[in-house]
């Protein structure tokens, strides 16, 4: 349960793995995870394989991540989203802001 961050130094990509319920209770953990290696200016991937449920504050946190990386210039990938979660992200038009695999 929680956020697990993996930094690949070769590609300079940070992968944030979310498992369990992605809601506001995770916000501190999530923020710590993406600010930790920020000095290296990595790219970010959010892996939702283990995510069971999301609520709207999760969307808010993703947007904060995006802002942190530079807003419109950010290229953040969201991968392995379970079917329904993927649908919810699409309905929220997040495919316009994130690269949803």
């Amino acid at each position: 349960m929680g956020v697990h961050a993996d930094f690949n130094a070769n590609d300079k990509i940070v992968t944030l793995r979310i498992s369990g319920v992605f809601d506001f209770q995770m916000h501190r953990e999530f923020r710590d995870a993406y600010t930790r290696d920020a000095g290296q200016r990595p790219r970010y991937t959010v892996d939702l394989r283990g995510t069971t449920y999301i609520d709207s504050s999760a969307l808010g946190m993703l947007l904060l991540l995006r802002e942190h990386v530079g807003g419109d210039r950010a290229k953040i990938r969201i991968i392995n989203a379970p079917q329904e979660i993927r649908q919810i992200l699409m309905i929220a038009n997040f495919h316009r802001l994130f690269d949803i695999a």
Binding site: S57, L59, G60, A92
Partner: protein, 576 residues
């Protein structure tokens, strides 16, 4: 507008340049002398030998001026001038008689027949030249005048069209909005509506009646421009169950944003909640609102305590409201200042004292409205009619009391309910845990349908959190902006929740089938004895941009989402 023929147009001429002069004389020598003189002056010349030829020439190639002999065969000068002047119609064609007759009678006859001047033969060429030049100047003046007249006619036409358009718009707004309400009567002077008085009536889903009486500065088109957004905002918000104060603030915001500074609307806003025996009254720059209770109790006057709508910017704007309890039988009287200022033949105003008198004298309350209207009409019929005078009476009628609190949900009719689950959490439970995961598991068990659990979680948790944050904890969402804000908001929330003493949330889930479709109805109600200033700030379009994302998402996920009673009641319908 009719097409203007060549003969009608008065050309603009400079003093000598190319004026066309027609010389009419039966003596060839006379014609020759005049022609050469005129050509030397720079005029264009034509000549005719008698009246009849003159008329033919006049029609074929209209001259600007005519030099006319009196004694001619076939048609003499007098007849000719009459004919020519008739043909010229609105155009000014100066006719100068050249006559050998010197007696006063003949000369006078020249002018009476229609001639503009005369010269006796043998004439002085210098004087003739001078007279022609003088007439040329007059011709210029005439053509300028004609041009101005044409512009004015065009302009008037345009103004009239605009006015008709605005009249149409305004009458359709008022007509559409009002009067299937039996408890409301209104009287308007003939030009009141097209001059910017509007009356709007709405009923919220939970049975509150809302009335707006507005008086725009400006008339006609400018009033119509203001009335359109006001009417749309009023209908939309009323249908969604907003309070009358929120409606007033939104109208103020729109008018302030969209219309120029000198355009605004004085207004009376009234909300009648017969279920709670309460009325909310807001007076923005209008005459006193009179509240007359049933029976012999004295009337109360509620004076204006706000600026008219559209003046103050949103940040500094607040509305002072009168909130009072009312019993059935109470009558409220609203009017625009045209009523008070209506004058009689000596200029005396109708005035508020007269209304007081009528209130005192009234014996049968149901006749009060009629009595005031009659008195007003009698008073003003001899004097100058004030253009916009409107009077509205709202009667707190027992029949208005709603039977149901939650009416109207989409597809509400013949649904067979398969099961209903209702859960009420008071403060102690709200402090301890969120019921959503448990509800989702329960749903999975009852429904044996696991397919949309994730989506349902998102929907339920959003509605629950909204109700908790705004309906019970009374938190301010705007704090959520930015990464710091986000953390701060949630620690604030945790604190508020840990110390929560009062409030409740009620969740109702119900599986219905209608015509083979099964739907899940979700209802979330919240309440707290505390005054939450803005119980549901996420609902307006403004909020969507910053932090209203959640409800927007829920709206997209559900088949319908209704927010009633200012956010205290939310109903969603979900079809998998």
């Amino acid at each position: 507008m009719h097409a203007m023929s060549q003969a009608d147009t008065q050309p603009v001429v400079h003093e000598n340049a190319r004026l066309k002069i027609l010389v009419v004389d039966d003596e060839p020598t006379n014609r020759l002398i005049l022609e050469s003189m005129l050509r030397r002056e720079g005029y264009a010349v034509a000549s005719a030998q008698d009246g009849r030829q003159a008329i033919e020439d006049f029609v074929a190639d209209p001259p600007d001026m005519i030099l006319l002999d009196v004694m001619m065969p076939v048609m003499d000068g007098y007849e000719t001038v009459k004919a020519v002047k008739a043909l010229a119609a609105d155009r000014f064609v100066p006719v100068i008689f050249l006559t050998a007759l010197t007696d006063d009678d003949s000369l006078t006859r020249c002018l009476s027949a229609g001639g503009d001047d005369f010269l006796t033969k043998p004439y002085n060429a210098d004087i003739l030249r001078a007279k022609i030049r003088a007439f040329a100047r007059t011709l210029n003046l005439y053509s300028e005048l004609q041009e101005k007249r044409r512009e004015l006619a065009l302009h008037n036409e345009r103004v009239r069209t605009d006015y008709e358009l605005s009249e149409n718009v305004l009458t359709s707004i008022v007509g559409k909005n009002s009067f299937e309400s039996d408890n409301i009567q209104y009287f308007s002077s003939p030009k009141a509506i097209s001059n910017g008085d509007i009356v709007l009536v709405g009923m919220t889903p939970d049975g509150r009646q809302q009335i707006l009486l507005g008086d725009f500065t400006g008339h006609g088109l400018s009033a119509a421009l203001g009335a359109l957004p006001v009417s749309d905002i009023f209908s939309a918000m009323s249908a969604k169950g907003y309070g009358i104060r929120d409606i007033g603030l939104e109208i103020n915001r729109k008018l302030h944003e969209r219309l120029p500074a000198n355009l605004f609307m004085a207004a009376c806003l009234v909300e009648l909640d017969l279920n709670a025996n309460r009325t909310v009254v807001i007076n923005c720059g209008m005459p006193d609102i009179v509240v007359k209770p049933a029976g012999s109790a004295a009337a109360v006057r509620l004076a204006s305590a706000n600026l008219p709508l559209g003046i103050e910017s949103d940040e500094s704007m607040d509305l002072n409201v009168h909130s009072m309890s009312v019993q059935t039988g109470t009558r409220l009287l609203l009017c625009t200042d045209g009523i008070l200022e209506g004058r009689d033949s000596v200029g005396a105003m109708f005035g508020p004292a007269r209304i007081d008198q009528l209130l005192q004298a009234n014996r049968r309350p149901e006749r009060l409205f009629r009595e005031i209207c009659d008195a007003y009409q009698t008073h003003t019929q001899t004097g100058e009619q004030h253009d916009d005078a409107t009077l509205v009476e709202i009667h707190c009628d027992e029949a208005l009391r709603p039977k149901l609190i939650m009416s109207k949900s989409s597809g509400a009719a013949a649904g067979r309910s398969e099961w209903t689950l209702s859960l009420r959490l008071d403060a102690p439970l709200l402090r301890r845990f969120s019921p959503i995961p448990m509800l989702i598991e329960t749903l999975a068990t009852i429904d044996a349908d696991h397919s949309r659990r994730v989506t349902l979680f998102t929907i339920l948790s959003e509605l629950y959190n909204n109700a908790l944050d705004h309906g019970v904890l009374c938190l301010d969402s705007t704090v959520k902006d930015g990464p710091e804000g986000f953390s701060r908001y949630y620690s604030h929330r945790a604190q508020a929740l840990a110390t929560l003493q009062e409030g409740y949330i009620e969740i109702t889930l119900s599986r219905c089938s209608t015509d083979g479709d099964t739907t899940l109805r979700i209802g979330v109600r919240s309440g707290t004895p505390r005054i939450c200033r803005d119980p549901h700030p996420n609902v307006g379009p403004r909020a969507l941009a910053t932090h209203g994302r959640g409800l927007h998402l829920v709206r997209s996920l559900c088949n319908s989402l209704e927010i009633l009673d200012n956010g205290r009641i939310v109903e969603a319908v979900y079809v998998a």
